[in-house]
Subunit: 137 residues, 2 copies
């Protein structure tokens, strides 16, 4: 929850709107869609504009407090935490598994060796099946 601190340090203003949006993002370990964030915020303080939410999400992303990913054509948001840089999402049960940054290390090397391509993986969200759901299918 150092987002508030980051906002202050960047000389940005701490408004109720921003606090609520930061709250929403931290209210779960899962990823949230913009819809869900808007609902959370408007539920607690009706009248808050959607544009404000979109702009704040962009601002928080640029400040490094949250990050935005894409899953199934939808934009999803998650708070940023040290050490947990990528996510595996089960397409059956929806569970999120956090995984370490170094998971791509070997794969990056393969791309560099084979194609001379320097890939950069930031907060990747990978779709698939978790251990349980894999067994049941």
């Amino acid at each position: 929850m150092s987002c508030i601190k980051t906002i202050r340090e960047k000389g940005l203003k701490l408004t109720l709107q921003r606090q609520l949006i930061v709250d929403a993002i931290h209210s779960t370990q899962e990823h949230l869609t913009s819809d869900q964030i808007i609902a959370y915020v408007q539920d607690r303080t009706p009248g808050i504009n959607k544009s404000t939410v979109y702009r704040t999400l962009q601002l928080l992303e640029e400040a490094g407090c949250i990050y935005k990913s894409e899953l199934g054509g939808q934009l999803i948001y998650h708070h940023n935490e040290e050490g947990h840089h990528h996510h595996l999402i089960c397409r059956k049960c929806g569970r999120t598994i956090d995984c370490k940054d170094d998971i791509f290390r070997q794969f990056e090397k393969t791309l560099e060796d084979r194609y001379g391509f320097k890939a950069t993986f930031n907060h990747m969200v990978i779709s698939g099946l978790c251990t349980k759901c894999k067994r049941l299918s």
Copy 2:
């Protein structure tokens, strides 16, 4: 350019609109945004509706003729070709490098071993720097 054949085989009708959209997709090796496809089509036959383009793109995707990816929040389209299942896009020069399906083989194994997660990678678009641009930066 077997899209036309696929359309016929599926009992779908071959309209001028669909031909133009297939043309657009095949006019380049690069990925196209919906904007670019709409422009291409309307340039050749003014009056063609955007909805038609969006619907046809979805139809072609479901028929397996093209695929849709996401890059930088934008949806991009590309024709489907045997053997070239993933793409590396240089974020500096924009060049597309096609790469083989098996590039993810090792990485999939790592995810399965470490997290018990069965990931599926379809037509991935990976952002990074190509050999030339990497050298210059």
